[in-house]
Symmetry: C2
Subunit: 264 residues, 2 copies
Amino acid sequence: MTALISIKKPLFSDDGLGYGPGGAGSMRKDIHNSNIPVRCVSCEVRHKGMCGALTADELLSLSAHTRLVTHDAGGELAGEKMPVESYATVISGVVKLTKTLEDGRQQIVGLQFAPDFLGRLHADENGVSAEAASDVHLCRVPKAAMERLVKSTPALAERLMNQTMRELDEARDWMVTLGRKTAAEKVASFLLLIATHLDPEAAGQSRRFDLPLSRADIADFLGLTIETVSRQMSKLKADGVISIVANRHIEVPKLARLKACCGA
Amino acid sequence: MTALISIKKPLFSDDGLGYGPGGAGSMRKDIHNSNIPVRCVSCEVRHKGMCGALTADELLSLSAHTRLVTHDAGGELAGEKMPVESYATVISGVVKLTKTLEDGRQQIVGLQFAPDFLGRLHADENGVSAEAASDVHLCRVPKAAMERLVKSTPALAERLMNQTMRELDEARDWMVTLGRKTAAEKVASFLLLIATHLDPEAAGQSRRFDLPLSRADIADFLGLTIETVSRQMSKLKADGVISIVANRHIEVPKLARLKACCGA
DNA sequence: CGCCGGTTTGATACTAATCAAGTTAAGTGG
DNA sequence: CCACTTAACTTGATTAGTATCAAACCGGCG
């Protein structure tokens, strides 16, 4: 476990989350839309995610238990066989879910972006290890409080089901990439994934972004080695599909061009 | 769609499903245990699965809608972009879920054994194509009836959630295999998967079974070619880890020995 | 300035894909 | 019943794509 800092005051004034109208008074009419940001009383941040399924009363009672916590990149949030003690919602940053073979070979089996929910309900262990890929802010909820709330709030259970099904879709999409794509297609697919997840708005042709993962992590995600990832990135750059502004900072002039490199 | 035959009379007297005590009178006390077989009034077969979450009344009302159907090996049950028209429970046989790239490269992203539930609730398309890997018996339920029942039966929704989470676990386990294991480890892992899924009882050291998948399907599952699968099977045979009684019929003298070949 | 982790680039080795015959098993029709 | 056909599988030779090993590069920081 790395150091984690508890913060009780608003943090994000200029990171795209911001404050706005609506907020704590919102009633259950928007329960089916997790894309509407809700002023979460508990962590004092306006964000999307599970909290949108809660009423003002429920949010208030939650606020007694939740904590906004920060993890530095590389920090371990949960071990593969570690008992689950709390759940969390990703507020900002990226969390990687990994599995490791006995001899050390590692595979990233999922990436969680804001506003994903972290942790498996009613399970002793989660089966995957969760690590902060970048610096991460989480809205943490104790195990018992969350489970109580889920039981009494069908809308929340429904959202969790929806997220689980989305994760299953993503896992299956990635199985195709792992099993049937070439190294070049894998790297292109990864860049496209990040480009589309990091700012879903700004749907313009061109995009610039910072990779939330190191080359080593990308390799673990794609089932490749660091060297192969590096070579394929260099090749995409040489072909003019991307430009590498800095190590982590990538620009994609034409998203369609990148898509064409993904093999499907 | 291939031909499907509707049958209204009991079929399985000697395939391990059989009839027995309990049955239609069972009340909701066993809702959390999908391993207790229940006499499903609808398809007139005693089986495990979702029906175990239903009361006698619910089973009876279901029986008006369900049909026991048969599909021959290779039959397509649902297309990747085909609208969902009905759900089903696998009674016997194996269903493969596949995804295909535009150029024809294919990847199996999941295998469903009895008593798995087939189909995604509240979705227009399922995102995967479902095919009968072997000859398959299904207990089919129309879309509307199933969705109505789920809404009114929280225990059923809970079971579906549990299955979805199990599928997610399996998908993630398989991502490790696809991304980080060698061809030899992949084939061994596949054989172990089948050996343990096909008869979960008979936990003895030695096992004999028929592969429900062709070499081509195995290759699509493992992200390999037919030739590589064949070679690795031959190697396992040469090493005495398995014996190939007939093309499809495999014997594993020591399961632990096979496990040791799986790389983790 | 020089160290250090992360990254890139290069040379070589090795695994699995591809191409190409064979072999076996199950039908099919004479 | 047996020749013929066909699909599924096995085996072999060669090639292509990645991994591995090794060295250089680069940016940040003490």
